[in-house]
């Protein structure tokens, strides 16, 4: 187990470096460099100076090696548009994204799994109806879904705030419990949108996984032992259907982060997704590679976590 973990860890680090390489070359495939697109009016001489300082005038191979060395040191560069180190900007945005994404991820898995299991065990109109509703959610563009939520619950029916992480200004002056409530109040719409849009996929998988497990011989064995239906579903079938779900957890992470870009944008949530969109628009090279690398690290280590969970659930992969 320990060896397997070490191997997976090593693999994760390798993948992270590959992602760094991909983003390095992808960005350099585009015409120009950060200084030819800087929003600030820079004179030709200053541009040249900046290029020299940042090493953009060096051969590609040398730039790449320097870049890898920097990354290995944990230095992701400097954002000229934001005027701060990329790591600083990321450190600021990451907790917000993790808060939003973490809650939504847990909720969408819990609700999605519960829904999928219920569907699988209750054939008939309930299954058909929920499947249809779920498929509709699955087929709606993320930003559209989020915009509809925003319009209904923030514009028409002003139950929730139309964006931001906390009430601007007032949050700082609230007593602790109120500040907490304020945070929750701001979280509800983006979390609900993200959850609704991602739980659709999860429920679909869970339903399929349950339908796969339910006809198994060991379920029949359990039934023959006198185990109740609830015990069959939630103890015997569920544990087994969870195994593929853990793999799904790892595999949905990139898609989930992709959806996050839209949700953060619609709800003006200043997390990694907004940062990435902003960085790309501003051609902030170091910030672009930084967000991509952090996104990839989230995915890669999410997969690692999924692997560990897999081992925890399924004794067959434990050795």
């Amino acid at each position: 187990m320990r060896r397997r973990l070490a191997a997976r860890l090593g693999q994760s680090i390798v993948v992270t470096f590959i992602v760094a390489t991909i983003s390095f070359f992808a960005i350099r495939a585009a015409p120009g460099d950060p200084f030819s697109y800087s929003a600030k009016p820079l004179s030709q001489s200053l541009r040249e100076q900046l290029r020299r300082e940042s090493g953009y005038d060096r051969p590609m191979a040398e730039q790449y090696l320097r870049y890898l060395r920097k990354i290995a040191r944990g230095d992701l560069g400097y954002s000229f548009n934001k005027g701060e180190y990329v790591t600083t900007a990321l450190a600021q945005a990451l907790p917000r994204t993790l808060l939003l994404a973490g809650i939504a991820l847990v909720l969408s898995f819990v609700i999605g799994i519960a829904l999928g299991v219920t569907q699988a065990t209750r054939a008939g109109w309930f299954d058909r109806m929920t499947s249809t509703v779920i498929l509709i959610f699955y087929s709606v563009p993320d930003f559209w879904g989020a915009m509809i939520m925003l319009t209904i619950f923030a514009s028409w029916w002003r139950l929730f705030p139309p964006g931001d992480i906390v009430t601007p200004v007032m949050h700082d002056y609230m007593p602790a419990w109120k500040a907490f409530a304020d945070r929750v109040w701001h979280l509800i719409l983006p979390v609900a949108s993200l959850t609704l849009l991602s739980l659709a996929g999860i429920a679909r998988y869970q339903r399929a996984a349950m339908l796969d497990v339910l006809p198994s011989d060991f379920i029949r064995t359990a039934r023959a032992k006198g185990v109740s239906e609830r015990g069959l579903v939630w103890r015997h079938a569920f544990r087994n259907a969870l195994t593929p779900m853990v793999t799904i957890l790892g595999l949905t992470l990139p898609a989930f982060l992709g959806g996050l870009v839209f949700i953060e944008r619609v709800f003006t949530w200043p997390g990694i997704g907004s940062l990435a969109a902003e960085a790309i628009e501003g051609r902030d090279y170091d910030l672009v590679t930084g967000t991509v690398i952090v996104g990839a690290i989230l995915v890669v280590f999410g997969n690692l976590l999924a692997d560990l969970l897999h081992a925890a659930i399924d004794p067959r992969v434990r050795e």
Partner: protein
């Protein structure tokens, strides 16, 4: 680079520790106003400020020597109001002006404002290392002489009508003891540049880029405490989100309300509509040079007949109605109608597709297969570069179809703002939807359209060049008689219109969404925010966030 940055980080830490005096709001003062602005500031260090949000912050945190009057007169010192200079004295030959600093003026860190700060600021603005966009405007100032700690004498190279304007208005006075410590080439990445200390009626508190920028009233300000306690700027690039914020009261002001939805403001109980026209205008620039072979004339726009034909092919009045409804303002030429030297009797060539087609025929563009005109085997095809701004994009799309009707095939090239700026600076475009902010001074016109403005640091990005125009503007700016100035200026403007270097579309017209509880002070044409310190919120209308005063944060 790394070590120097950590040094300035330390400096920032030290400045951040300087205490703020708690004081509570009263009946006369109080209120927190949240501004949901389209973009975050790019820079808030005065010499490198280029965007509106940055200017807004600058105008609250910093002062000039004197402030331009509501009529925006730039000639002489008529209308100018004292700011850091409580008074000024012209030398008899007008080659120098002695400014007396208000002895009550203090920087936000408590140190007094001195004449050497004036000298420092002027030198900073002139220093080419800072790349200040206004560097070329202050070239007429020769030097600053510190006569005593409260008297700065500015010397000019020559006596010009706008020399006072150049000196008193274009230069922002900054504290030498704060900014002087940092070498110019490190200013770019210095935290000091991001935590300004000035003498204005609001002082800077914090800036989380992309999220919020906070200013609070400087309670001991020499010009009086601002009536509001606090200003928060939250960048809101999504216009629909901005609209929702203002209609729900989450924000107090949106600076660019969706023009199609302006009607919502009229019916809202929370917000109201404030129309504001500024010095901006939008035009479609036609590159006089071939973007591929830099010094060759442009294969399409090199010909005056073609440029005029294209100008006449678009129905500017209908497009204005489509985009702005009844509220739009049609451009009269290369200037905004709000500037003092505007001549609204001028008009670009009228909408006339028949004439436009005839002109194209005479220029050799014959209708070819599929309706696209051809000349020497080359189709009449060009692209319009446009930023994501919804109105400009809509104009580009409207023109695209109208050009098609006279046989020109147009591609609309929508790019992000950074790319647009880059391509504008590199002259890498056929046509480009540009915003053009008229300088309130006629001399600015010379910078923007004259031959002298061509070059990497100049403002004539269009590279329009006409000797007649240059001569007329020389005569205009040299004259001290307003009527004569205007006569020459009008003729110069007509010259540009005749040359059709661009299609002059509309004067920028902005709908501000404003919370109803705010009582505004007079808004100036160039900057609606200029009297923000005098905006107020009546005590009976204050909401929670207006009542927090300066009580320290949790």
């Amino acid at each position: 680079m790394r070590s120097s940055l950590s040094f300035v980080a330390l400096a920032a830490l030290l400045t951040a520790c300087s205490g703020e005096k708690p004081a509570n709001s009263s009946a006369a003062t109080g209120g927190t106003v949240i501004l949901a602005l389209f973009g975050d500031a790019i820079s808030i260090y005065p010499p490198s400020i280029i965007d509106l949000t940055g200017r807004l912050v600058q105008d609250q945190v910093f002062d000039r020597l004197a402030e331009i009057g509501q009529d925006l007169n730039t000639v002489g010192d008529k209308g100018f109001a004292p700011r850091l200079a409580k008074s000024w004295k012209w030398a008899s030959d007008s080659m120098s002006i002695a400014f007396s600093i208000d002895p009550r003026a203090r920087w936000h860190d408590g140190k007094p404002v001195t004449a050497s700060d004036v000298r420092f600021s002027l030198n900073t603005f002139k220093d080419p290392k800072f790349q200040s966009p206004v560097a070329s405007l202050v070239t007429n100032i020769d030097s600053v002489h510190v006569q005593d700690s409260l008297t700065a004498v500015l010397w000019f190279k020559k006596h010009t009508p706008e020399q006072f304007y150049d000196a008193a208005y274009q230069v922002i006075i900054m504290p030498e003891h704060v900014y002087g410590a940092i070498p110019p080439d490190q200013m770019r990445t210095s935290p000091v540049a991001r935590a300004p200390i000035g003498s204005g009626r609001f002082k800077f508190v914090r800036w989380d880029p992309g999220e919020r920028l906070e200013l609070i009233a400087d309670t001991g300000n020499y010009r009086g405490r601002a009536k509001l306690d606090r200003i928060i700027i939250t960048p809101t690039p999504d216009a629909a989100a901005g609209a929702t914020k203002i209609l729900t009261g989450a924000a107090d002001l949106v600076d660019n309300y969706l023009i199609d939805r302006a009607g919502e403001l009229d019916t809202s109980k929370v917000a109201r509509r404030v129309d504001w026209a500024n010095f901006g205008a939008i035009l479609m620039a036609m590159n006089p040079n071939d973007p591929k072979a830099r010094n060759a004339p442009h294969p399409i726009f090199g010909d005056l007949r073609t440029r005029r034909a294209l100008s006449m092919a678009v129905d500017r009045a209908s497009m204005l109605k489509n985009v702005f409804g009844a509220n739009g303002k049609l451009s009269h030429g290369p200037f905004a109608a709000t500037v003092s030297y505007a001549d609204t009797t001028l008009h670009p060539a009228p909408y006339d597709t028949v004439a436009a087609k005839a002109l194209l025929d005479s220029a050799g563009w014959r209708v070819g297969p599929k309706g696209v005109r051809m000349k020497n085997g080359r189709p009449l095809r060009f692209s319009i570069v446009v930023s994501p701004s919804p109105t400009r994009r809509r104009y580009a799309e409207l023109m695209q179809d109208q050009f098609k009707k006279i046989g020109a095939q147009v591609d609309v090239d929508q790019v992000d703002n950074a790319t647009l700026t880059a391509r504008q600076n590199n002259h890498d475009y056929d046509a480009l939807m540009a915003s053009y902010v008229s300088d309130p001074a006629a001399s600015g016109l010379r910078q923007a359209w004259g031959t002298e403005g061509i070059g990497p640091d100049g403002q004539n990005f269009l590279r329009y060049s006409n000797k007649t125009f240059d001569a007329l503007m020389d005569s205009a700016t040299a004259s001290f008689d307003p009527a004569t100035r205007q006569r020459y200026t009008s003729r110069a403007l007509q010259t540009v219109i005749n040359d059709a270097p661009a299609i002059f579309l509309y004067d920028i017209f902005v709908v501000l969404g404003m919370n109803r509880r705010i009582v505004t002070a007079p808004m100036r044409t160039d900057e609606w925010w200029v009297n923000l310190a005098d905006w107020s919120i009546p005590p009976d209308k204050r909401i929670d966030r207006d009542k927090i005063g300066f009580s320290p944060k949790r």
